[in-house]
Amino acid sequence: MTTSPVTRKRIRGGIGESPLRPDGIPKVTGNFAYASDLHAEGMLWAATLRSPHPRARITKLDTAPALAVGGVVAVLTQDDVPGRPGFGMHVPDQPVFAAGECNYWGEPIAVVAASDLETAKLGVAAIVVEYEVLEPLTDMEEADAADSQTRRMKIRRGDRTVSGAVSVEGYYEVGQQDQAPLGNEAGLAIPDGDGGVDLYAVSQWVHSDHWQIYPCLNLEPEQIRCHPVGMGGAFGSREDVSMHIHLCMLALRTGRPVKMMFDRAESFVGHVHRHPARMWYRHEADADGKLVKVEARLILDGGAYESSSNAVIANAAYFAMGPYLCDNVFIDSVAVKTNNPPAGAMRGFGGVQTAFGHEAQMDRLADELSIDRLEFRRRNALGQGDPMNSSGQIIEGSLPTAELIDELASMPIVEPLASDDPRHLPGGTGLTTNPDHVKRGMGYGVTIKNLAFSEAFDDYSDVRISLSPIGVEVYTAAAEVGQGMVTIIQQLAREVLKIEQVAVVWSDTNVIGSAGSTSASRQTQMTGGATYQCAVELRQQILDEFGGDDLSSEGVWRDGDLLVTLAEVCGGGAKEHEIRYRHPETFATDENGQGDPHPAFAVAAHRAVVDVDPELGLVRVVQLDTVQDVGKVLNPVAALGQIEGGALQGVGMAVLEELVVDKGVIKNPNFTDYLLPTFLDAPHIEVRFVEEPERWGPLGAKGIGEPPTISAGPAVYAAIQDAIGRHLHRVPVLPQHIVGSS
């Protein structure tokens, strides 16, 4: 046994600090390898033939002319799919290639691999296709009437015959937002020479890709390995398979590595979008300002294939009325199938659409009752121990809605406009607006979101930790899409093991089990939770083995003395431990939507201040004040970044971002006309955290990615209406809506 004068070093970069991201400097200096930077010796380039019609029958498909183009190596269609003909997140309803019929504009029909990208595009152009153009189904209500839906979901809770002293009704529409990640889709498939393939392609969940790909390829699961890659954002657009099966098929057919990279226009058609929605609401309250009954009908357009529509519509229904107590709730919701661009996951996942509706309803009811709008929300705030308004589930975890509202009310309100700098006025550098044209408005958004997967889904994350004298390695298949998972994993491992050197090893599907998706605000709690628990168990195993009371980078300690060095602990190898981490079990609900479907919830509250030029319909979002329920702050800078970025995505949805879809055709698949907020459109954002620990997850931390996106938009929407003194029923709010022209 060693006794030694060694002292334990203080560990930097633990919980509560904001250590530098290991990928931060490479990213800002251009040295980080994104999927689009992937390269392999002798690789081919691939391009995709896409349907020019939202709905058509393919009457002729001749690939021979493409194969005749010099440099073209392979052309594949649905006939070449070796296994299951389709794929999908939940059900495999989407064919690998359109065959027989095309169901949306941009649906893949064939892929071409060639010596270079230009040649691949020439090959695509040479394919002969003839279509019988069919009338597309593009109206969501017509689709509902025609019984073209993927899931109906109803909530029946309480007594429908009760009524309140006051009631308000409203109709709301939400346009189609796109995730618009800065990094386009890209991937590289490399054949292993043994009938299998390694795929490196953008993904929020490599195991889900894997489960969808290998049946289509008719391979054994271990013959295809999906690897995590560098990504510039995702926001839901990379949960679904896009180019993945195509790339694997081409690599296996040609025996050569094959690369594919979407350009911006192809990215807009090559991934799923947010569901556009139409919503009808009726809210009733008693004279004391307590909600008595909420009725709603919701339609979401899922486009041509199911993707995650069935989960999105459930979320829309469960969170149709926000974080407010109510005992009588009746909701009819439906996700319909049309020939519009497929909709799937996007940050907020169903709750974003309904938030615009329920928050507008809360304002109208408050006004009707002559109660302050924030006070009205406070009186109805849902909290821990209450039954969830939709499912009736008793909320066991933290839910500090009232605390958030109180904190928001205490934040100082931004000073009135005092500048004639055009950059601070509606219209910005366009010089459209004088200060005396401006009307100021203020609005609130208080919203709720479920955290992690719901409705009996077996939600887990696998983590393996390997400890050696040179440091700690954490193996995970979690997707780092830019959100900062890497630092959270490092910080949690450091905090427990007291070893500063922690590397995250992003691992493929043969190396480690699933981490679940980087979505649903779940990775901090799930893979963070797995990391924390795995580290705690590994530490305890080592302490038990050596009879110590503490572990650090020096070794195992007892009573302040170093017992054994880390090298001795590891005995020339590494100490390894692997766990599968699960959140509390959830359950499917009954035919009335009643039961315990959710593992946890989070709330967020926003106050928006906007300046509007009513005569021209121009808006400047001046300030967002926000309070968020975060459980515990693990990394203050990362938390701030998630909230600021998430809020700005909500601002974009309220005033700018919309895919313009005309009879199934996207009219603005580019950054010239799909307008994201610039820095000049970004308001000043004040953020406060409320820390009430969650019952599960690392140190009580909650997921934080989605809530700010949900609450910011409704706050801005309300503030615009406050400024102009008129109800508007659609987002994004466009200049023509504000001026009241058609």
Binding site: R423, G428, L431, L616, G617, K667, L734, Q736, S741
Partner: protein, 268 residues
């Protein structure tokens, strides 16, 4: 793809005469977008950036190769205003006024100003020398102009006395880096004559001549005249509905914007 890189105008005109219809490349902020989208696959590009004489401002002559970054500092108030609304700083460092004229987009940011100050577009060819066309003759339709296949746009020629009282504004849905849904320029002479030009509300930059006449009759307009001015401008434009905006919003906004600019001119 063949690329010719002349260093003088003479060389450029020779290349253009030899291969009429070869694509002209200045800043590339329009042409390269077309190429990247696959809408255009040029076989021969004549790159104009090395021609120093095109990039000069000489009195009332603005060379076609002058970039927006330079025009941001122009003494012509409205020209500087509009130059600041073109794209991003990177686009302004590359894009040129000649390119804006050549592309002849209805949304071209520079065009309402050129129309309002009554600039002429100077075009040059090897065989026929120099021609000068007023905006009303040069711009012939949506992305169409009177440039002959062997010609090069060489300059915008301003009249002798450009009024210093001039204002530009542009409506876009976003606060910066946005294509205009409506733009306007109002110029006021010392004698009270007013010229009003609008962008994105017709196939070509549009002079609101009836609205101009109204102010000529009422150089010190009352509220009633200003209201009539708004209605007249809205009646004179012929906008369309597309994915960026609607016909009726553009018609409404054109009138409001023109009035605001007129009032700014009248207040100076």
């Amino acid at each position: 793809m063949e690329i010719t890189r002349p260093t003088s105008l003479v060389e450029a005109l020779e290349a253009r005469a030899e291969d009429p219809g070869a694509d002209l490349l200045a800043g590339g902020t329009d042409l390269m977008v077309e190429v990247n989208f696959g809408h255009s696959r040029p076989e021969h590009v004549i790159a104009l950036r090395r021609i120093a004489e095109l990039a000069q401002i000489d009195g009332n002559r603005i060379g076609a190769g002058v970039t927006w970054a330079r025009l941001e500092k122009s003494d012509h108030r409205a020209l500087a205003q509009l130059a600041r609304t073109v794209g991003s700083p990177q686009i302004r460092a590359a894009g040129t006024i000649g390119g804006n004229i050549g592309t002849a987009s209805p949304a071209g940011d520079g065009l309402p100003w050129l129309a309002a100050v009554e600039a002429e577009i100077e075009v040059t060819s090897k065989d026929r020398g120099v021609r000068r066309l007023p905006c009303s003759e040069f711009f012939t339709g949506v992305k169409r102009n009177a440039l002959a296949p062997d010609e090069v746009i060489t300059a915008a020629i301003l009249p002798e006395n450009v009024p210093t009282n001039q204002e530009f504004a542009k409506i876009g849905q976003r606060s910066a880096m946005v294509i205009s849904t409506v733009s306007a320029c109002v110029v006021r002479d010392d004698d009270g004559t007013v010229r009003v030009a609008l962008g994105s509300v017709a196939p070509t930059p549009l002079r609101a001549t009836r609205a101009e006449a109204l102010i000529a009759e009422n150089p010190d307009p009352s509220e009633a005249v200003l209201a009539e001015f708004v209605r007249t401008v809205s009646a004179e434009v012929s906008p369309i509905t597309d994915h960026r905006s609607t016909e009726s919003y553009r018609r409404h906004a054109a009138g409001v914007l023109a009035r605001r600019l007129l009032e700014r001119c009248l207040a100076r």
